[in-house]
């Protein structure tokens, strides 16, 4: 289409040049022809008139003296004028006096009488009458008839005009060719580039500027436009890319959110299931105690069962709390110089009963000398117990479990290996995701929240180490490898590993326990009484405040969420009261986050315990604080 336009411009240019030339030539030619024909006629008439005049003057004496012979001779001079076909002289009375005819002319007719002065054109003849005057007297009249070759003249002229037009059109062709180079060529260059741009979408193309006229300006404008379009197209493309990238990011984020949401739902279902599981044995044990409490063997079995189920529950809740800490990023380590063997032993203590109960064979490969590293021994023990727990759970009873500890110059390597169900290759990295379990069916064999491996990996990473899972596929067993950086602090022989924990209870302490949960309050009171303390229980904040004023406790274990007066308020009152200002205040709450600890500290608490309270923790507090 652009070609066609360019061609049409070229054709138009040629048409204009040709048309202009042709029109000018035809008009000029016609004007020239009219002028020339007029001039031709005038000159012919004037020539003939002159001839007539000469003949008239020459023949005047002949007429005067009646000498037709001389007149005839005079007319004979016209032989030199081939144009004149015939001539005659009439006397003043109108009689024919002398005649002349061009040789070869046949049947010459002369007018019977002379006409009036003047000329007329009859067909191809110019006829002229001229009166001869001498001394104001009419002597006679000259008659001339000449061939008036107007048609021949016109043909001649048309021939010349045709030749001139042909030559001029040739010149016009040359001019238009030149014009095309000068005018069309730059335009063609523009259209050519426009064509390419449309075809290839390449906005970096430019038209070469060859002239400084309007076309040159057009070229400049076109180039500027191309640059602008190119810039805009590039900007649009970049913005599109960004948008596409953002879209994919959002899509991925949305997918991740959806997956996380789904996992959370599954987790909640699992959680409910797991929390409920220990409750049935607990209730059964209670009923057994109620029925056969007096039979020591049965009671002991029931208590043992209760303790096991309780541990399971506590562990579940601990895991939950850890999950909360991990998701909120509040998992904090208390790093200290730690001996790896002790940590492994601690983990084995936890998992040992389970290994035994499932009939697994445990193979240990421990180093012969201690390995020290900087870490939180409790958390590291949790890591190993989680890994061992995992191995125990996902190995059919009677399986082999291997635990190996070794050290290189820079790191300690702990391997936990089993010959259990293994992990599909595509799940190797996913098993560390939160709430992820390879078997998702509710009827699955193995209990658990699916957070153990996540916790383990996170804890190892917090220690600056790595946790890696290996498996040759389903049924091929699995291997978990923990690598932990070794402590750069050299061994400090002789340093006390653990502070002496247990001391004798030198004195009986007065302890106030406040909790609106009567069971919790009573159970705590029983533990404290068993330690030889004097314990008073209050079931709400106001009652606790009143009791404290008279009881003057050395220690106060206060619940935070209580009707009437909450734990924080109660703590403030106790701190304001002169009798309890120095008392050791311990917050006992289900809320274990840093925020809760800070609030408790601000309210005046000395310690913060998270339910369920460990017996050892209580003892540590009682021992560490020597009441004044």
């Amino acid at each position: 289409m652009l070609r066609a336009v360019a061609h049409s411009i070229r054709h138009k240019l040629v048409a204009v040049v040709f048309g202009t030339t042709l029109a000018a030539l035809i008009v000029a030619g016609a004007a020239m022809m009219i002028y020339e024909l007029r001039a031709f006629q005038q000159s012919a008439v004037s020539d003939l008139l002159t001839q007539a005049d000469i003949i008239g003057r020459a023949s005047a004496p002949a007429l005067t003296f009646n000498d037709p012979k001389t007149a005839h001779e005079n007319l004979g001079l016209l032989r030199a004028r081939p144009m004149v076909s015939s001539a005659a002289i009439y006397t003043s009375t109108g009689e024919l006096f002398a005649t002349y005819a061009q040789s070869g002319t046949q049947e010459v007719r002369y007018p019977e009488a002379p006409g009036a002065d003047g000329y007329r054109i009859e067909g191809k003849n110019l006829i002229l009458f001229k009166r001869i005057m001498e001394q104001n007297e009419l002597q006679g009249t000259v008659y001339l008839q000449a061939r008036y070759q107007l048609a021949d003249k016109i043909v001649d002229y048309l021939g010349i005009l045709g030749t001139v037009i042909t030559l001029s059109l040739l010149v016009a062709l040359l001019v238009s060719a030149w014009l095309q180079r000068a005018v069309t060529q730059p335009i063609l260059a523009v259209t050519d580039v426009a064509h390419k741009v449309v075809d290839s979408r390449d906005f970096s193309l430019r038209v070469e500027k060859t002239t400084t006229d309007e076309v040159g300006y057009l070229v400049d404008a076109f180039n500027a436009m191309l640059a602008e379009i190119g810039r805009r197209a590039a900007a649009l493309e970049a913005s599109n890319r960004t948008l596409k990238y953002e879209m994919s990011e959002r899509q991925a984020a949305e997918d991740a959110l959806r997956a996380a949401d789904r996992r959370k739902d599954e987790f909640l279902a699992t959680l409910a299931h797991e929390l409920r599981n220990p409750l049935a044995p607990l209730r059964n044990a209670l009923q057994i105690l109620a029925i056969a409490g007096d039979k020591p063997v049965v009671a002991a079995q029931a208590r043992e069962m209760m303790e096991r189920q309780l541990r399971q529950l506590v562990r579940l809740v601990d895991d939950l709390l850890d999950v909360s800490r991990i998701t909120t990023g509040r998992l904090v380590l208390r790093p200290e110089r730690t001996e790896l063997g002790g940590v492994v032993q601690s983990a084995l203590d936890t998992v040992g009963p389970m290994i035994e109960s499932r009939g697994h064979k445990l193979v240990l490969n421990l180093p012969d000398r201690p390995i020290y590293l900087q870490g939180d021994s409790t958390r590291l023990a949790q890591v190993f117990s989680n890994l061992l727990n995992n191995a125990v759970k996902y190995t059919e009873p009677g399986g082999d479990i291997f635990l190996g500890v070794s050290a290189t110059a820079a790191e300690a390597v702990i391997r936990v290996k089993d010959n259990g169900i293994g992990i599909p290759a595509d799940m190797l990295s996913a098993i560390f995701d939160m709430f992820m379990q390879v078997d998702r069916s509710l009827e699955r064999l193995h209990a658990g929240l699916g957070v153990g491996l996540t916790l383990a990996k996170r804890l190892v990473e917090l220690h600056g180490g790595t946790l890696e899972a290996r498996s040759d596929g389903l049924g091929s067993g699995s291997e978990f490898i923990v690598r932990l950086p070794l402590s750069r602090v050299p061994e400090q022989p002789g340093a006390p590993e653990i502070a002496p924990e247990v001391q004798a209870f030198s004195a009986q302490r007065r302890v106030l326990v406040a909790d609106d949960n009567q069971d919790h309050a009573e159970s705590l009171a029983m533990i404290l009484r068993s330690m030889g303390n004097e314990v008073v229980v209050a079931n709400d904040g106001l009652q606790a405040a009143a009791t404290a004023a008279s009881f003057r406790p050395d220690f106060a274990f206060l619940d935070i969420g209580m009707p009437g007066l909450n734990g924080y308020e109660l703590a403030r009152r106790l701190r304001q009261s002169s009798v309890t200002v120095d008392a050791v205040l311990v917050a006992v709450t289900g809320w274990g986050q840093e925020k809760d600890k800070r609030l408790a500290h601000e309210a005046g608490f000395d310690h913060h315990l998270v339910k369920p309270v460990d017996f050892a923790q209580i003892r540590r507090i009682l021992v560490a604080t020597i009441p004044g």
């Binding site: 004496p61 005067t64 003296f65 009689e95 001394q135």
Partner: protein
């Protein structure tokens, strides 16, 4: 058409017959050819246009152009009839009949007819040649010396011979146009 094809002579003759019928007195003329006289009279008057006279020929600015006739009363009579209202060399034309040489003062053209005696004619010619007078004669055969123009009849028509020499002798110039229609021209 046929009429134009007629020979010129026939038409002249017809015209002459017509004229004679219309003028019964002319038939009494002894010379017989009134037409000839009339033509000669007209020629005499027209010769004035083809001849140059010296300025001295005209005594006064208002002097008439005078044509003298000797020895031909018919021609003189024709002239008298012809000249009124006509002019030659811008002057009125006067006709004078002369008998002797004394009457030639102020004359420009002198016609000597056949009726004049040869001796008197020669005397007149001699006198005329000294006065810038164009001498016209009508002799058959060789014209007398000093005659600038001599009428002759050729094929029944009045023609004339010219003598440039005689004209020049009288101080006159004969127009070449006149010479062109002359029957014979005598040049020096």
């Amino acid at each position: 058409m046929k009429r134009f094809a007629l020979p010129h002579l026939v038409s002249w003759v017809l015209a002459a017959i017509l004229w004679m019928l219309c003028a019964p007195w002319a038939a009494a003329q002894t010379d017989g050819n009134v037409l000839e006289h009339r033509v000669k009279a007209a020629y005499l008057y027209k010769f004035a246009d083809y001849v140059e006279w010296p300025d001295s020929a005209f005594a006064r600015p208002d002097a008439p152009f005078t044509i003298a006739v000797a020895g031909s009363e018919p021609v003189a009579a024709e002239l008298v009839d012809l000249v009124p209202g006509r002019r030659a060399h811008g002057r009125p034309i006067a006709v004078r009949r002369v008998q002797g040489v004394d009457a030639l003062a102020g004359v420009h053209i002198l016609f000597i007819g056949r009726g004049e005696g040869a001796l008197r004619a020669a005397a007149l010619i001699r006198a005329a040649q000294q006065r810038s007078i164009l001498v016209v004669t009508e002799t058959e055969g060789p014209p007398p010396p000093g005659s600038a123009i001599n009428f002759v009849i050729v094929d029944g028509r009045v023609r004339f011979d010219c003598s440039v020499e005689a004209g020049r002798a009288a101080g006159l110039t004969l127009s070449s146009r006149l010479l062109a229609v002359a029957q014979n021209v005598k040049t020096p």
